[in-house]
């Protein structure tokens, strides 16, 4: 078997292992907890409708409907199978609506914010780090750059609170919450007015993620850049009289950045956790807010569904990074594990 194929299979295996681990924990814990999910659902319905007739019969009917009378292993396998087909069940709060419909509505907002914010912070952080680690960067720039990292040890949600207080409440430059202006609806439209409003709303959440996320990348890149600068090929490149820009990009950054890709894959879980809280702070119409709706209403199927999909999405992002990596660094697929 070629190493490339082996590598791909290994990574795909990791993806399924991650999703399986996550799904299993989500499945087991609620069943260890005292109480019965169906009874909880009925209580939930009662708290909304005031009184539910024949609640005992309803519990029995629902138990049969959800297969809760089956043996545990059967339930478990069914849960895994349904989850993989994205059948996440009905939302308790918005009953006729299924969880997957709710997620389909909010997921694009999260993905847009996540992709842009992560991209910008990884790119910006690495650029700053590379310049900080590069000996030939002008002294003035080298002294100014660390200023950009002032907020890098602040948790994103704290940054979000601070930004809301200063730029939304104090200066009133940006909206306090929501992802889009009133009356525009959450279905994406390619009109100037809609896009403008969406960007206007996204600036502060983006900033909260960007300003706090950059520092980690910058420090990692700075270290790698300093190590790379000591390599023989760097000295040779300079001795050959190559232009500094070429040495910086083609010889320095290109080699120093490789471990950063692995770092992106490893920190994906943290990035997603951070963003969930930032979305919650801004009531941004993404998964974080959906999760909060689930929590506020005791909507267990919704919470479970959102968690599962996000675990899966994170694992998928990691898989993508892992699969792109050998294209950037061919040594990976040659080495024996």
């Amino acid at each position: 078997m070629s190493f490339t194929l082996k590598y791909i299979l290994q990574r795909v295996g990791m993806f399924f292992l991650t999703v399986w681990l996550g799904a299993t924990v989500i499945f087991i814990i609620p069943r260890l907890a005292p109480g019965d999910p169906v009874a909880a659902m009925i209580t939930q319905l009662q708290s909304q409708a005031g009184r539910v007739e024949n609640s005992a019969e309803m519990i029995a009917a629902w138990r049969a409907r959800f297969g809760l009378d089956d043996p545990m292993p059967i339930q478990y396998l069914r849960f895994l199978w349904n989850s993989l087909r994205f059948e996440l069940g009905y939302s308790l709060r918005f009953f006729p609506t299924t969880v997957e419909e709710l997620i389909a509505r909010n997921m694009p907002w999260t993905i847009r914010l996540l992709v842009v914010a992560t991209f910008v912070s990884v790119l910006g952080g690495n650029a700053i780090g590379a310049l900080m680690g590069w000996r030939h960067t002008p002294k003035l720039v080298q002294n100014l750059l660390p200023l950009a990292l002032t907020f890098s040890s602040v948790p994103p949600f704290m940054m979000a609170l601070g930004l809301i207080y200063v730029f939304a409440f104090g200066l009133d430059w940006f909206p306090v919450s929501q992802g889009i202006g009133r009356g525009l609806g959450t279905d994406w439209q390619w009109t100037w007015e809609y896009v403008k409003s969406a960007i206007h709303h996204a600036v502060l959440p983006m900033l909260a993620i960007f300003v706090t996320g950059m520092g980690g990348w910058a420090l990692g890149m700075r270290g790698m850049m300093i190590t790379t600068e000591g390599e023989d090929y760097m000295i040779l490149a300079q001795a050959k009289g190559l232009r500094p820009g070429r040495v910086f990009w083609r010889y320095g950054v290109r080699n120093a950045i490789l471990p950063q890709f692995t770092a992106v894959a490893l920190s994906m879980g943290w990035i997603v956790s951070g963003q969930i809280l930032v979305e919650h702070m801004f009531a941004y119409p993404g998964m974080g807010t959906l999760l909060n709706v689930g929590i506020m209403n005791g909507d267990y199927t919704l919470i479970q569904g959102v968690s599962f999909i996000l675990i899966m999405a994170t694992a998928l992002a990691v898989l993508l990074v892992d699969l792109i990596y050998p294209l950037l660094d061919p040594r990976i697929t040659y080495q024996r594990s």
Binding site: G22, P155, S273, I276, A315
Partner: protein, 310 residues
């Protein structure tokens, strides 16, 4: 050379102008950080004698008072409630005094349990190698990519946690980092001369790990523990911000949660969230200082003693 790393016997040290304070474990960053943490712990025991902590109960104080120095608002600040009160009539100072130690406790328990599991798994994996190593490494890597907040939310939604239960929930994820770190260290240490020597003299695996390797890893473990404590306090705060924290005892995260639920930001009630955040910042900073200090102890290259050349 202006900077040299100083080593040697006491007499030689004195001659080189090195004082007692250059002893590695007396690192100023570590000391400052540790002092603040000890003060916070003491506050948990002694705070009740300094300030009336029953004021942390709802409806024990007037509502919505600003801090005492804000005099141009209605109602004006009252020195009886120096940091103001919230919309449930709870005194902010009492909330901080009771919240700070319980937030710290969550961090200590979660990181402690996580560290213990990490040490066991990391050493097993790194020292034994083979298929055991493969299994532990693969599962750790897979678990690392799971966003812990999401799983914790699912768990906390079912089990309304107390402070201790929440700490144990967090511990279910706190072993991943330490396992990875210790495995890497154990792998590199396994081949060192003194470990080989111990193996040649037929020491048991357990004694090699405990007697030969552990003492060398101590600063690493301590630095990692300090980092993990603040990491777990942060994770706990995340959970609490979603309203899933303990409801009986005030913690810093729950105080911020209630303030956000009462739209404190939009009402300009900055002291509702400002003081708990400030308290969290103090915790994070002190553990950050400790972690850096311990890191300098573990990596002597970071510790550049400034020795004057005369």
């Amino acid at each position: 050379m202006a900077m040299t790393t100083a080593e040697g016997r006491p007499a030689a040290r004195r001659a080189a102008g090195i004082s007692l304070w250059d002893y590695p474990w007396l690192n100023p960053k570590l000391l400052i950080g540790a002092t603040i943490v000890v003060l916070i712990i003491l506050m948990g025991f002694l705070g009740r004698f300094v300030w009336d902590i029953t004021l942390a109960q709802a409806a024990s104080s007037p509502l919505n008072l600003p801090p005492f120095w804000v005099q141009d608002s209605i109602p004006a600040g009252d020195p009886a409630h120096p940091l103001g009160t919230d919309n449930m009539g709870r005194d902010m100072l009492a909330l901080i005094i009771t919240g700070l130690p319980s937030s710290l406790r969550v961090g200590f328990i979660a990181a402690g349990v996580g560290m213990f599991v990490g040490v066991v798994l990391g050493f097993t994996s790194g020292f034994l190698g083979g298929w055991v190593d493969n299994v532990i490494r693969t599962v750790t890597d897979a678990a690392l990519t799971i966003p812990q907040l999401l799983v914790l939310v699912t768990l906390a939604a079912y089990i309304r946690p107390t402070v201790t239960v929440m700490a144990l929930l967090l511990a279910a994820f706190a072993w991943r980092g330490p396992t990875r770190l210790i495995r890497a260290q154990a792998l590199s240490m396994r081949e060192r001369g003194y470990v080989r020597m111990a193996r040649l003299s037929a020491s048991s695996t357990l004694s090699i790990i405990l007697v030969e390797m552990m003492p060398n890893l101590l600063p690493y473990l301590a630095a990692s523990l300090a980092g993990n404590i603040s990491g777990n306090i942060l994770a706990a705060t995340g959970l609490e911000l979603l309203g899933l924290g303990p409801t009986r005892v005030p913690t810093l995260g729950m105080t911020i949660y209630y303030s956000i639920r009462a739209s404190a930001v939009l009402r300009g009630m900055w002291w509702w969230w400002g003081f708990p955040i400030l308290a969290l910042v103090v915790i994070f900073t002190s553990f950050f200082l400790m972690a850096i200090g311990l890191d300098e102890i573990a990596n002597p290259r970071l510790r550049q003693l400034q020795v004057k050349e005369e």
